[in-house]
Symmetry: C2
Subunit: 658 residues, 2 copies
């Protein structure tokens, strides 16, 4: 019985077993180069994987021309796909959910428009046209479209840096529409150019921190309405807002505060009930409209507008007026408008896509991210010329839509029609609606964005992600919304670069009785194989880490030698690099192998590579010095085979015994 | 005979073999969680791997205090390590090499100072003090220290953006010294803060493109001296320089051109001879000094300075005057100076470290990058207060040093003393040295930076790296030196991010007769295992790629199902993810597994993980839903074991046959 089969000698009792391993491992399998492909083929494959990972056109393959045309039209207008099969039964579901989200959309529309420093009516306009566009172009069945809190906040605060919404309301409105145009253009381009993955750079941790920070900023802004303050700071940060609030205590109006607290408690209670029982979703869905009606009646009955309670005031009746003549493509504010469009575009896209994906996963259908981006983008471009500001799929509203049983995008149409009716006939009713109730509606809506359990979960799973989240949160609260976001994204990317720059290398040992090799520091029963140092490199090798890897591996070898000196074991003969996890190398990586091989030769060790992947083999072959690695005894398919085969050569080679 | 052992049924002839595999694979090995470590321990280990990968203090461990003090002093001043063993034999070698590099350093020092728009004498000052400092602090035995061409070019061109070296020479000199101070401070800080890996972001491809571009820019600047033009553009780009040259043809001086061509041919010939035979290194090493002497004599003999040949003019005798009173830490140019210090600091550091590592590898000793950075940084800080500008280890001079047989840093001392003698006694001799010969010396020196074979090699190995190289090259030539560099670094980092965003997933198949599983598209003899889809994920899973991975894996499954439909094979039951290459996950990665498991359940497939690494197991465990992955039949140590064990359950489970 030869004891060298798997490099350990503990199991001599189990002869049969050993015999087997020997047969299995002594048959050495060759590492072969991958099949040849031209540079063009490789480029094509790489581009496809990068930009068309979901292969969106595969259903077109091998179809007749007519079928292709139909599929093409369905691809561009998903309504053609589900429209022909639409039934009365589906419509019944959609009409219920459409009316439910309309009851939520009307007060929220007015509130969010005020958050964006825009006239309240623009919020209603934005709940009329975009849902219709989305119903035709969108592929999600649950998304409820309209203005959202965070995009409204960012749009309002960024534009206010240059133009005052009170002193120059027309210019502010023009800038808002132009911003919407650029946001839509940017969103549609991302989708069209298949660059949708850019939104993936907003990690979950970043978003949770960002959302919580933004919710607090939004809520702080509502202190103006909730306390009835007339002179309020124009800044957004925690410190200036609180300073402003407590410097103007003389402006606090007890009537407003009383009303605000009552409605806030009512709304939060309704929210709590719906969260406890999903079936009672309509309680929180209907509560805002109930509040608006009730508060309007109260103001009207008591003439409270004369007792320190500010009201919305007269709203113009009628549908969206055209606004393409209000888009400003020149002038000194263009830079700001483009930047604001970019930030609001990305943020609202992130929300819309995330919402779409969440509900698609729940109902087990797929949403094409890039196609969805085009739909949202076109919706905003159309919106910008019909007096709408930035809209997207809102999380809270889509959840209500889903719970209310929406089956298709027709629920958006129903909501849109309801808003249309409101715009045409019901606008005078809002004249006495107090601003304080809008503030309460906003606070209730954004409070759900603060997700403490998710934050705790992140703390438990990944401390670095928690750091990212905290930076986003604190950055948003203390610096500014967009800078907080930028800092968090920067830190997230820095982590990735750090992982690349400092890849893990682990020492492998043999799990006794097998030819499996695993991390010695993880699997305590794994054993070192005398004479071998087996290292696994767990990252692509490139310019950012080749110098580190060389240094780190040399340290592994030195430490190994020092330990062997202590134990007076047999001296090291082979350094085996397990390459299964090295998915790519670049020219620096190739140099790394050349240099490292030379360094090993100088030390008198043999360098053996195990299971290099296709790209690595190719690149090593193309470099001149790779010939070294084509010798059969320096390239193996598994660690087990390498150890078995090389152990046997030690015995036949007297020189190695010195 | 059970045919389910390794999932393939081709080798029924080899019964013994099969029997073995069965025994080997049916014994299932558990995936165990890694040993527990506290967050603090993990943070400590991570920080150590990030900032102290080479564990520089390990020699201190377990030593008595006195020994520790000695080791500490030797660590800070490497001269204490090799100084006591210094012998006459070593000194003989060092004196020869020291004199050789001095003969190169004197003309190069004068030339490079002119390239930096500084007085020629500053170049000699910079070859006197810094080598002495390096000899005490540096750990490389071959580095020859002094001013270098590219750092000189960048310093001169960046400072000239704000201050004219001809109109305001004193201010320009002050800014140059201050820049040197900041460069040194920056270099020393990088070393001290263990952030040396920052220079790794200049990949080989970037450097080759950048060096070639810079060499061309430097050579173009020499057209002024070589053609004898007096009115020369102050811009650096290819286009403005050539325009300037051909707009001033009337200023061309035939005497200068004739002299320039003669010496250029001579120098290039000398370079060619030395490149052919390494033993004749002294030909190219001595040629510049020979040219300077010869040309000075010619000018002196023919009074050529009156015939259109411009000469250096009078140079002040004496050693470096102190210059700490010339450092400007306030004023309007501070921003420029800091920026220039940063760029020249990084660039000269990159050259110095690369040279040190190259020769250390040749002679098989190690250079501690971070320590070396501190040495170079302190050398520049000292230099900035003794009238020196930015210096580092120069490649060409170090190569000459190495070839001339330098044994220790004493060769730098010998060079320094020779320069001192020159400064004290020989300065009047340079009065008649023509500028044209300095131009020829610079061109000959930088021409070696254009490395066509390396560029071809990069083209052969990696097309993307070639793109990076071309961008660096074209950017330097057509835009500016620092922007070209920034573009190339940006593209390099973009590639890394792209690799992370679009990680490879490959389908594995069984290599018949083994329990080895490899990429089906690489190993043509690998076979699919009916009922299983085995995918290997080849990257860490994080926020940037979790959405992509889900989409891509779902497409693998769909394609697989479509193919199975065509072939009417047994339907898919298990999706196995081989995780050996997933070195890390973050909270988005954890969510990916939760979502993906749910998606698989909806489709009726079982998700099985194979060999998740320590960090992945830990994080999955810490998330609440990970319980799913603790079931014994969803976690295996090898693909072979998973397939063998799950194949047997298929038979015992009637539900799966439907």
């Amino acid at each position: 019985m030869e004891p060298n089969t798997s490099g350990n000698m503990q199991h001599d009792d189990d002869d049969d077993h050993h015999q087997c391993l020997e047969i299995a491992t002594m048959e050495v399998h060759k590492v072969v180069p991958p099949p040849r492909r031209s540079t063009f083929e490789k480029l094509k494959a790489r581009l496809k994987e990068t930009f068309f990972p979901d292969d969106p056109l595969r259903q077109f393959k091998g179809q007749p021309v007519k079928k292709k045309l139909i599929l093409g039209a369905q691809y561009i207008f998903p309504i053609l796909e589900w429209g022909p099969n639409y039934s009365l039964k589906l419509f019944k579901s959609d009409i219920v959910s459409g009316l439910t989200i309309a009851s939520l959309a009307i007060p929220q529309g007015i509130s969010y428009a005020k958050l964006a420093n825009l006239p309240a009516i623009v919020g209603l306009y934005s709940s009329f046209v975009p849902p219709l566009v989305y119903a035709v172009l969108g592929s999600s069945r649950d998304l409820a479209v309209g203005p959202v809190s965070i995009a409204s906040l960012i749009l309002g605060s960024m534009l206010r840096q240059e133009v005052s919404p009170t002193k120059d309301p027309l210019l502010f409105l023009q800038l808002a529409f132009t911003t919407t145009f650029f946001a839509g253009l940017f969103q549609a381009s991302l989708g069209f150019l298949r660059l949708g993955f850019i939104i993936d750079f907003l990690s979950k941790a970043t978003l949770i921190g960002f959302m919580a920070g933004a919710a607090i900023i939004v809520s702080l802004q509502q202190l103006k309405a909730l306390l009835g303050i007339t002179h309020f700071t124009k800044q957004m940060g925690l410190v200036p807002v609180l300073t402003s609030v407590f410097h103007n205590t003389n402006e606090w109006s007890w009537q407003t505060i009383l009303m605000g607290v009552c409605f806030l408690v009512f709304l939060l209670l309704a929210r709590h009930i719906s969260m406890r029982r999903a079936k009672l979703f309509w309680v929180s869905a209907g509560a805002p409209l109930a509040c608006v009606i009730l508060s309007t009646l109260v103001v009207f009955a008591f003439k409270a507008q004369h007792h320190g309670i500010s009201v919305i005031g007269k709203l113009q009746e009628g549908l969206n007026p055209p606004s393409w003549n209000m888009l400003l493509f020149r002038g000194s504010h263009l830079g700001l408008v483009v930047k604001t469009g970019l930030v609001t575009g990305i943020i609202s896209l992130t929300e819309g896509i995330a919402v779409g994906r969440t509900f698609a996963a729940l109902k087990n259908y797929q949403v094409d991210g890039n196609k969805e981006m085009m739909a949202i983008g076109i919706m905003n471009i159309v919106g910008s010329s019909t007096s709408c500001y930035v809209t997207t799929g809102a999380f809270s509203r889509s959840a209500v839509n889903h719970n209310a049983g929406a089956k298709t995008a027709v629920s958006n149409v129903v909501m849109s029609v309801t808003v249309m009716v409101t715009l045409l006939f019901l606008m005078p009713l809002f004249q006495y609606t107090p601003n304080v109730v809008l503030g309460a509606i906003i606070v209730t809506a954004v409070i759900g964005l603060i997700d403490i359990p998710a934050a705790y979960q992140i703390w438990k799973i990944d401390k670095y992600d928690f750091l990212v989240m905290s930076c986003a949160f604190l950055g948003v609260i203390f610096i500014s919304v967009q800078e907080g976001l930028a800092i968090a994204v920067g830190i997230s990317i820095f982590k990735i670069l750090l992982q690349i720059t400092r890849p893990k290398t682990v020492m492998l040992g043999n799990i006794p009785g097998t030819d499996i090799y695993r991390n010695l520091h993880h699997y305590k029963d794994a054993m070192r194989v005398p004479g071998f140092l087996i290292l696994s490199i767990e990252a692509p090798i490139n310019f950012a880490n080749s110098a580190y890897l060389k240094e780190r591996i040399l340290r592994w070898i030195e430490e190994h030698e020092a330990e062997e000196d202590l134990k007076k074991q047999s001296s090291l003969g082979f350094v085996i690099l397990e390459m299964s996890a090295v998915s790519a190398i670049d020219t620096n990586g190739v140099s790394f192998f050349q240099d490292f091989r030379k360094a090993m030769e100088k030390k008198g060790f043999e360098l053996v590579l195990v299971n290099p992947l296709a790209e690595v083999i190719e690149k090593l072959q193309r470099s001149d010095v790779a010939g070294d690695f084509r010798r059969p005894d320096s390239l193996y398919l598994t660690v087990g085979e390498a150890v078995a085969s090389l152990s046997s050569t030690i015995k036949t080679r007297p020189s190695n015994l010195v």
